[in-house]
Symmetry: C2
Subunit: 330 residues, 2 copies
């Protein structure tokens, strides 16, 4: 009795195989044992359908092969692509992913960090909107898109370079006057540098530009008002190129413009940011600055599994690329 319908343990395997407990442990961990022993153990494992208990193992070894990932949500294409790549990167290294969606709520973020700490994860990868997130310093942390300080590595796209690239591409395609549109968090984060790069390029190219920047939560109508103000009676707008801070915003702007009778890209060319594709893998939504999401994911995972996290660089910017999605001339 006792072995009937309950989950088998190492002890059961040892008894079944007629060997000692330690021998079973060695076999399960790939430590050399006599060939005949190994075989008997393997047979017993198969017969009993035995699985090592990661909880008992983790308790002993202080290693859980689990990494927590924390993002605002999974429906935004950038986040879902990111989590998808992180998941692949972790799986490839035999790690498991514990996933938390925070809905941009700082309180929830803090709560999930505590949960992850309890879970004794081997590390936390987060894209956080809580500037004062508290994390015990005995659990490795890597941040995406937000710089927390020198001790915590931050991985992001080269947002500044991406902003420059967008302006340059618009000008290359014949634009003579540009606009930058942004909606986003007021918190300082890496994506805010898209604007700085854009302005920098405009100034070195000596191209006039307009900015329309609003805080998260502002109704979209603010942008429609802005566009209408710049509509010209003879058709077109006061500018012939627009850089939108994300593809999601670009998508809305394009809709608005078309409904106003402005042609894209004939009257105005538009570049977004992210590299979003319809249904994740079909065509681009718009011309865009593509974030290197697979590389971001790989970098985060490499960092978090690194022993010497403390002497890792505090900011790693990965190169972006430009892709034409039909809302620019090329």
């Amino acid at each position: 009795m006792g072995e009937a319908n309950s989950i088998p343990t190492m002890k059961d395997v040892a008894r079944e195989a007629g060997v000692a407990l330690g021998t079973v442990s060695k076999v399960m961990n790939g430590i050399p044992v006599g060939e005949s022993y190994r075989k008997r153990v393997e047979e017993a494992v198969a017969k009993l359908n035995y699985r090592v208990n990661s909880y008992a193992k983790g308790l002993k070894t202080n290693k859980t092969y689990t990494v927590a990932v924390m993002v605002p949500n999974l429906v935004s294409p950038f986040f879902s692509r990111l989590v998808n790549c992180l998941n692949r990167a972790l799986s490839a290294r035999k790690y498991r992913m514990l996933l938390f969606a925070t809905d941009y709520d700082p309180a929830q973020e803090q709560e999930y960090v505590i949960l992850a700490e309890q879970q004794k994860v081997d590390g936390i990868i987060c894209l956080s909107y809580n500037p004062e997130l508290k994390v015990s310093d005995n659990v490795p942390l890597v941040s995406i898109d937000r710089y927390f300080g020198a001790q915590i590595p931050c991985v992001s796209s080269d947002n500044y370079g991406g902003g420059r690239l967008a302006a340059e591409k618009l000008v290359e395609n014949g634009c003579r006057s540009l606009a930058f549109l942004r909606i986003g968090s007021r918190l300082t984060n890496e994506p805010n540098k898209r604007k700085d790069g854009f302005i920098s390029a405009c100034e070195s190219l000596d191209i006039p530009y307009t900015l329309k920047i609003v805080d998260d939560g502002t109704p979209y109508a603010a942008f429609e008002d802005f566009l209408r103000e710049h509509l010209r009676p003879e058709g077109g707008l006061d500018f012939d190129g627009i850089f939108c801070v994300t593809d999601a915003l670009a998508y809305q702007i394009i809709r608005s413009l078309r409904s106003m009778g402005v042609r894209v890209p004939e009257d105005v060319q538009i570049i977004g940011f992210d590299g979003t594709r319809a249904f994740g893998d079909q065509d681009l939504i718009c011309s865009t600055v593509v974030q290197p999401v697979p590389e971001i994911a790989e970098t985060c995972v490499d960092l978090i599994l690194e022993k010497a996290l403390s002497k890792a660089p505090s900011l790693i910017c990965l190169p972006v690329t430009y892709a034409c999605g039909g809302t620019t001339r090329s």
Copy 2:
């Protein structure tokens, strides 16, 4: 020494508070203890920044408050919406999510199930493409969209009803001849019933219909060929309404038709399936049969946490709704 920089345990808390180990355990689990004791323990916990070790706890209690979720990927909008809702549903019940993306690979699916079993999860929720998936019967399993047998509850949309609904809506909107387009797995699964419902409605309404059904992996060009075959010299197609098995397919079909000069919805009306929105939360891609994803997620989580999974219904179909996304007249 030993307590200096290492992670505090219950023993440390007990010593700090000057109480017994068991007392600390009781406080951490909300079991009544004397008021003065509780206070001293709480102070010690705060001072040491103590967190219970879920691994040790899980080892004792055989309960991990963790559920494994397995889906093909996170970039497909339906999957990412599903995982997003599952995550919310689990969080709300204080459960954690272990996430596995299988990339439609049966071997990986089997491997992840084993990982989940080792992890002693309290249950597995999966959307599987492995018809012979083996799961120990001591871990609760709930399936989405694939019927594994009477012992394993399967949750899905009312795909049959959705197929009927699509046909009915097209006819309501004036269509007199319909087509059904599908690409998908040859494995029997619930979404295959969309076709059956569609046909059933066409027949009861006495409306002629055409089917174009291809296996996963077939190049999309097969559909373009099909459309071209049915192009009429005088404009339009041999049919004036199309039901596509997913929004993703509908999106491609709409593009193809427009490039062929066929107007949507003037010449032909189109309905997809899923309820996909641009960027997860913006406008619909097309007119569509909306899957009740939040309800599917809630149902799965309720089932998996249920004690008596064995006497749960073996198939639960949740009601779908129709939404106009501009590719039908209404």
